[in-house]
Amino acid sequence: MADKTQVNDIDRSLYDQKNENIYKYKSQKGLTKEVIKEISKEKNEPKWMTEFRLKSLEIYKEKEVPDWGADISELDIDNIITYIRPDAELQNDWNDVPEDIKNTFDSLGIPEAEKKSLAGVGAQYDSEVVYHNLKKELVEQGVIYMDMENAVKEYEDIVKEHFMKLITPNDHKFAALHGAVWSGGSFVYVPAGIDVDIPLQSYFRLNAPGAGQFEHTLIILEEGADAHFIEGCSAPKYSVNNLHAGAVELFVGKKAKLRYSTIENWSRNMYNLNTKRAKVEEDGVIEWVSGSFGSRVSMLYPMSILNGERARAEFTGITFAAEGQYLDTGAQVIHAAPHTTSTVNARSIAKDGGQAYYRGLLKAAKNAHHSKASVSCESLMLDNDSISDTLPIMKLQTDDIDIGHEAKVGRISEEAIFYLMSRGISEEEAKAMIVRGFVEPIANELPLEYAVELNNLINLELEGTIG
């Protein structure tokens, strides 16, 4: 029999820290109109938002739970407290952030990242942003980077025009839920022609038993603007099921370019049912870089709508499913204008009984002539207890297009290992090298500190356990 590659679990103790909870306000369990009204009142929201929430709640109650994909029957949404505000007001200075919250962030490396000249840190603790900072130069250029709650009030017109217009509560049950109970998140507005040369980073996490996370991210890039937004998350491990149903709406203007990077590393009891969507105008570019490592269940399919001529989308993703995980991820691209192009490069690794599922959609609408698309999926099976599935769907409604798709599944090639061993490398190291090589295209797309984090993650997964 051929040898198997054994890969052990990562040491998660760093991420599984848990602070004592101090709450100012805790909403009642279960979802009723009263709860929604309370949340809205607590946030001092304009009336249209309160009404929007109530309407979403109605849609939520009507919609069925999707009957495909992951089994989410164990998820008891009514029991997940939808809104927990930490005992912390919004801070501008790191020194004023409460000590226990800071400790957790410290161990996650946030202040260090700040020192390394990141543009701003919107760290979300529970449902509200507790720390916010943006470099002076950017503020002077008119760049807005603030928490979503305040944006609703301060930039009401812009928010009202865009909020849940790409992802509507009618899309699916969890989008409706999000519309009803959303809380926290980031708002980014980059004026025409401005190039934000340092990545904007938001590190948020959950820290209360049974707390759901429903942050809303809204990014608007005007004509010719350029920005890179990084979303990262990690949560302590609890015994109660947790739900993440955030929404990310990205509006990329003409000739604008947005890169949206995510390293998702939720604790292994999280249900990550997130929705992400970008709309790209003429000559605009959206680049997704997506790493899915954590959570118990993920269903995440970022969608790019190429709405203007020559718009472009790129998706680079890696999914790593280990014991007890069902990670159902994939990219969706809608070619809705002529001469649009898209590239999807998705990789997955499954081990220790983990289940990785690629589910993608590529659609070329009737007017998408001269469009080009390529989709490439590769799956690595590290043992035969795991499951790896690939299901890409292509829908083509015009003829003058060029579509290519490829998918592969298999394990680490023995020939490659023997070759490396013949060059004097140990078997263990050879296998580790191949796995690192497998994720390299994704690591290359990440900013340095995230690439390092990704590499550490992979190294920890592989350390001393291959052979």
């Binding site: 035969n384 769907i393 083509l396 290519g404 599944v409």
Partner: protein, 396 residues
């Protein structure tokens, strides 16, 4: 219409076990609701009225003395054998992946079939002359439900050609077929299926196979006709070293709708499969291609590949492709690829620069793409008429 009474009529004079099989299938049939085929937009489909099929469909040939061929509608003694073969399919059902036409259609075929053959090449019998079956629909016989069972026993070699055809251009005909195939140890079976009904007829066809140790099954399905054509072809590589290949051509023009599904379940070690599909979409045609490669746990050293190439000739076509890879075993190699687009412009201009018209050049390139698969049709008459049909339809 499709009632118990009709089943009773059909079982009159038929032997005991096959009659029972019809009745059991009817029980399943009557409990299931009509399925909707959403992707291809065939909703609330009304099955036409039952009528018998009275035409001879088996072509007698010399050289087939050693093969056993019987009509499923007849009464015969050793029917136990057939039931035993059919029971194997019940024992080996795979749930994952595309579901084909569903049990409504397969149980309908099994309870109301009006034609069908049991063909068996006994152990060790190697026959090179193909068995030819012509299911031809006409005014007197516009309704066809064929229930076929083809078995290649150990170490045998057999080729079967089934041609579903019609001459009448205006007749509204119906076909729902069920073909089950068993390939035993070390046997080789080739099945060529050509479907060229007219633009007013509907075609439903389900195919299932089980392949054992070192057995080999080669399908050549050629889909050219029907207004709505929904076909499913599912193969299970049950044990070590079994092989399946599918070489498919489809040509959809006019307002034709096609839903073509292929599936390979790898269960045996060192099992191999290859799906190759080449298609052309023209006018307002719509097609859905589904191809599943499923590596079940235990299928170590299995190898499967799938490739779909589709040429889009008009702006108004609609093409869906859903290839899937399901994998529960690490020591396998699986891959699929899809490419879709127009005819290669450079080659087209090259041919035109040599004096061909655009239409001629296109026709030649399409033929060139299809020919490697057409070359696998063992009957030159059939091959010639298929090629001719495509030629005229490209020109139209």
């Amino acid at each position: 219409m499709y009632s118990k009474k009709l089943v009773d009529n059909l079982t009159t004079g038929q032997s005991k076990l096959l009659s029972k099989n019809r009745r059991d299938s009817f029980n399943i049939y009557s409990e299931i609701n009509e399925p909707n085929f959403e992707r291809i937009k065939i909703l609330d489909y009304n099955m036409p009225k039952y009528s018998p099929y009275n035409k001879e469909y088996l072509k007698d040939k010399r050289g087939h003395e050693e093969i056993i061929i019987k009509k499923m509608t007849d009464s015969f003694k050793d029917e136990k054998e057939i039931i035993d073969f059919l029971d194997r399919f019940k024992e080996n059902k795979v749930e994952k992946g595309n579901t084909g036409l569903g049990e409504k259609y397969t149980s309908m075929a099994e309870s109301f079939y009006n034609t069908g053959l049991f063909i068996k090449s006994p152990a060790g019998v190697k026959v090179s002359i193909p068995v030819e079956i012509y299911y031809e629909l006409d005014k007197e016989n516009p309704f066809l439900i064929d229930n076929n069972l083809i078995v290649a026993e150990e170490n045998s070699i057999l080729t079967v050609v089934i041609d579903y055809r019609m001459k009448d251009k205006d007749l509204e005909a119906f076909h729902n077929g069920l073909t089950r195939v068993i390939v035993e140890n070390n046997a080789v079976l080739n099945i060529i299926k050509v479907q060229r009904f007219n633009d007013k007829s509907d075609n439903f066809d389900s195919n299932f196979s089980l392949i054992s140790n070192q057995g080999e099954l080669n399908w050549i399905p050629i889909e050219l006709g029907a207004r709505n054509s929904l076909t499913n072809n599912e193969n299970t590589l049950v044990s070590d070293g079994s092989q399946a290949s599918i070489s498919n051509v489809y040509f959809a023009d006019g307002d034709r709708k096609m839903d073509i599904a292929f599936k390979i379940n790898h269960q045996g070690r060192h099992s191999t499969s290859k799906i190759e599909s080449k298609g052309v979409l023209k006018d307002r045609a719509k097609k859905v291609f589904r191809g599943d490669l499923y590596f079940q746990k235990g299928a170590s050293n299995a190898n499967g590949s799938e490739r779909e190439e589709v040429l889009l000739l008009d702006k108004t076509v609609d093409s869906d492709s859903i290839p899937a890879l399901f994998c529960e075993e690490d020591n396998v190699e699986g891959e699929h690829a899809v490419s879709a687009g127009q005819i290669d412009q450079q080659r087209l201009y090259y041919l035109m620069s040599r004096g061909m018209t655009e239409a001629e050049a296109k026709r030649m390139m399409i033929e060139a793409a299809f020919n490697p698969i057409f070359d696998k049709i063992p009957l030159s008459d059939l091959k010639g008429s298929v090629i001719n049909e495509i030629k005229t339809r490209i020109r139209e």
